[in-house]
Amino acid sequence: MKHSSLLTLGLLAALAVAGCGGTAAPPTTAPGSAVAGGPVASAKPAGSAAAISASASAKPSAETAGGNTLRYNIGDEPESIDPAQDQDTTQDFVIMQLNATLVYPDKDLNIKPGLAEKWDVSPDGLTYTFKLRSGLKWSDGTPFTAKDVEYSFKRLFDPATASPYTDIVKGIKGAEEFFTSKSKDAAELQKLRDGVGVKATDDTTVVITLKEKQAFFLSTLFNGATAPVNQANLEKNKDKSFDAPNYVGTGPFRLQTWQHKSKMELVPNPNYYGGAPKINLTLVMIHEPTATLAAYKNNEIDASGATNLSAADTNAIRNDPAYKDQVLQYTELGTYYLQYNVTKKPFDASPEGKKLRQAVGYAIDRKTLVERVLAGVGTVATSLIPPGMPGHLDNIGPTYDVNKAKQLMSEAGFPDGKGLPQNIQASYNNLGTWPQVMQYVQANLQAIGINIQLDPRESKTYFKEMRENASPLFRAGWNSDYPDPDDWYRVIFKSDSSQNYGKWKNEQFDKLVTQAATEQDQNKRLDLYRQAAEIMADDPPATIWYHAARFRLFKPAVKGIVTTGQDGGLPGKYFLKDVSLQR
């Protein structure tokens, strides 16, 4: 009948339109942003219209897509790129492309000149005098002077700024008093501000005074939070100073556009002291690992960036001839462990509890954990400090030895686990690979007779619980703030540290790490830390599992990626300015 064929046609037409997306015109090559300008969408798209920019999608399978722009996935939108708000790795990554700091790391995290070309330390270790390079400029061409450094540090410690992460540099004289002040009196606040130990004695000299000796102080100064901010910009643009196109920094790149939750476009900063980079940088924000991998295979991005692929995808890529040579695997300064709340049984501070904690250390098969659960993305660890940092130790701490574990259990009075409470609570946050890691650990412990109950939580709920009332066993970890053992031993495990969720207390340990924080002789320091590590092995506050590694993909056209242990999951962070593209 006539109408049926009409309907069928209509149906087919509907399917054709809405179904498979293949269309007549072949996709065009993206013009590839030239160094000056490119597809620029307004920074604040007013609703839908501006969001639909004219940029075409990448031509599939040809390497010409992208042009002279490195398209790098940073995973999520950074919360804020105001240096004073720098507290996570995504923010720090973007901040470090747009800003420079007083000192700068090399690929081994040694301290090298940054904005400052040289510095002196007074004999008592309390006064640091930095000499800035001459001719420094902001990205908008205005001159950069020592006053900018003074202003920025004072802003960082201003309680009104409410910076979340001043811990790093609160050793500076007067900083803590200013930061914790509840005063509303303008005169008093100004007095406190003037009392902060950062002074510009002339246009190119900054003098920083500490309130106590800190052997590691210089290594805290390349954190993005210390990057200078432009006072004139802040006074003119206030809340909008840190958005495109207002952003003013001293770093290798300039922020050209920022389509929120979508992408940021960075172009070279000709006023950068180290010389302008050779590439443009487009930072995209793809969160899902599957989508990232698909985008990489579809030539939409050049670097998988922040994405952690699943174990299955990792193995598949390793065996895929098309992609296995594009893998970059490197280690980072991160360590993950099972921490104990020593105020709760059975892993408490008693001699039996101590033996139990030691036993757990011998019961974990870390090698298989890394190889199978993590698909080889990690390195076995037995002590706290990761490789690549001073203070890393190879031969301290337990190895996998089930017999030794069982022996320790008997010595503790729980042969084969008899007498232990059942279903000991072990909590963790339900993210990424933690469920698999915890299940694996549960199996390891089952083998020696310890029966734990896994208790997953949503992340924020977990962090709050860890802080206020940690369960007997809980999963924890640490990523370096600055490449020094002080950031690890003292900051995490000193008994009065706010991080010490497990309430572990060892007086000898406390003494050692306090002394090491101010000790100037590096060899003496390392020896003190070695003793601290030995204490941690004997009376474990935590059982260490593995050190962090990352598995990332880069297109062959990307040349010159240099990783450091503090890249925070975004490889090449400190040296993107030296990258070149050979498409």
């Binding site: 009409l6 399978s61 979340p164 811990d167 840190f242 929120h260 939750k261």
Partner: protein, 304 residues
């Protein structure tokens, strides 16, 4: 009709108030706050932040302060994006999410209606069974599964479409399909059963007996009357599209407000969360109002 509209608009106010109240209470009852991180902030930093965002006030006062500001158009700063206000974030993303929902709805209608009509007219034939198979498929497969598979097939393997974003019209296709397939299935099924009922009606038989052309019978008598139940489910369908957009936006990295909603819950960004919930509540309420109004268009017996 005018009085009806005014009444419905006024009814929105207590609805939104209670939504705001419930959201506020649930938000603050949920353990964990905006400053709980894996690497904790110092107590002083937390104090400064609480003072800055008035979180140190008693909860009742905070709620009233929020309402007062909201009535003046100030929906607060975002905790997770301190450089932008909540109003700015929503304004920049809402248009995109609305577009996505609109395209998904169009896809659902374009796929679902013909499928349902075909199935009804070709009742108990292979065409019917095939249409219903497609419907059940769309119903059962979750939209995130559909989304992920379509990315892998059409982008990574076939290189036909981009994996996401919202830049060119090509990027609209997969998300609209992933989001719209479920409602398409529901629309197909409802259309089919509604059409089957209408086909048996006396007035249809009369029209055919009078000699009216078959196509006109379908259009003027069968389809129009069959649409009433279908329109009814469009209200909940809009709600579904709105909530489904969270997942789809996440997977296709679309810069809409769906992602904001999910992120704000996970990061306890209270102002953004409140504004998002209120926006969605208002959107669903308006959608239901439009559905009610459309009855008047479709069925002359219904007058307001």
């Amino acid at each position: 009709m005018g009085a009806f509209l005014v009444r419905r608009a006024l009814a929105l106010i207590p609805v939104l108030f209670f939504v705001a109240l419930m959201t506020f209470v649930l938000m603050h009852l949920t353990p964990g706050g905006p400053w709980d991180r894996e690497k904790p902030l110092s107590p002083q930093a937390i104090e400064n932040l609480n003072a800055k965002y008035h979180l140190d006030l008693p909860p009742a006062q905070q709620f009233l302060l929020y309402l007062w500001n909201a009535l003046h158009g100030d929906f607060g700063p975002s905790y997770t994006h301190p450089d932008r206000t909540v109003a700015e974030i929503i304004a920049s993303g809402a248009g995109i999410t609305l577009q996505l929902g609109f395209f998904a709805l169009i896809f659902a209608l374009v796929l679902g209606l013909p499928l349902g009509v075909l199935a009804a007219l070709r009742h108990n034939t292979p065409a019917d069974y095939l249409s219903m198979f497609v419907a059940v498929f769309g119903y059962s497969v979750p939209n995130f599964v559909l989304a992920t598979f379509s990315i892998v097939i059409f982008a990574a393997v076939l290189h036909l479409l981009p994996t996401g974003g919202w830049e060119s019209w090509r990027a609209w296709i997969l998300p609209a399909m992933a989001l719209g397939f479920g409602p398409a299935a529901a629309i197909a099924r409802y259309t089919r059963s509604s059409m089957l009922e209408v086909i048996r009606q006396d007035y249809v038989r009369t029209a055919r007996a009078k000699g009216v052309r078959e196509l006109l019978v379908v259009r003027r008598h069968e389809l129009k009357n069959a649409l009433l139940p279908v329109v009814t489910i469009l209200g909940p369908a809009v709600a579904y599209l709105v909530t489904g957009s969270f997942v789809v936006e996440q997977i296709f990295h679309i810069p809409g407000i769906g992602r904001n909603f999910v992120d704000s819950i996970l990061s306890r960004d209270y102002p953004l969360l409140m504004a998002s919930v209120l926006l969605y509540a208002a959107a669903v309420a308006v959608a239901n109002l439009l559905v009610d109004l459309s009855y008047g268009l479709l069925d002359p017996r219904i007058r307001y």
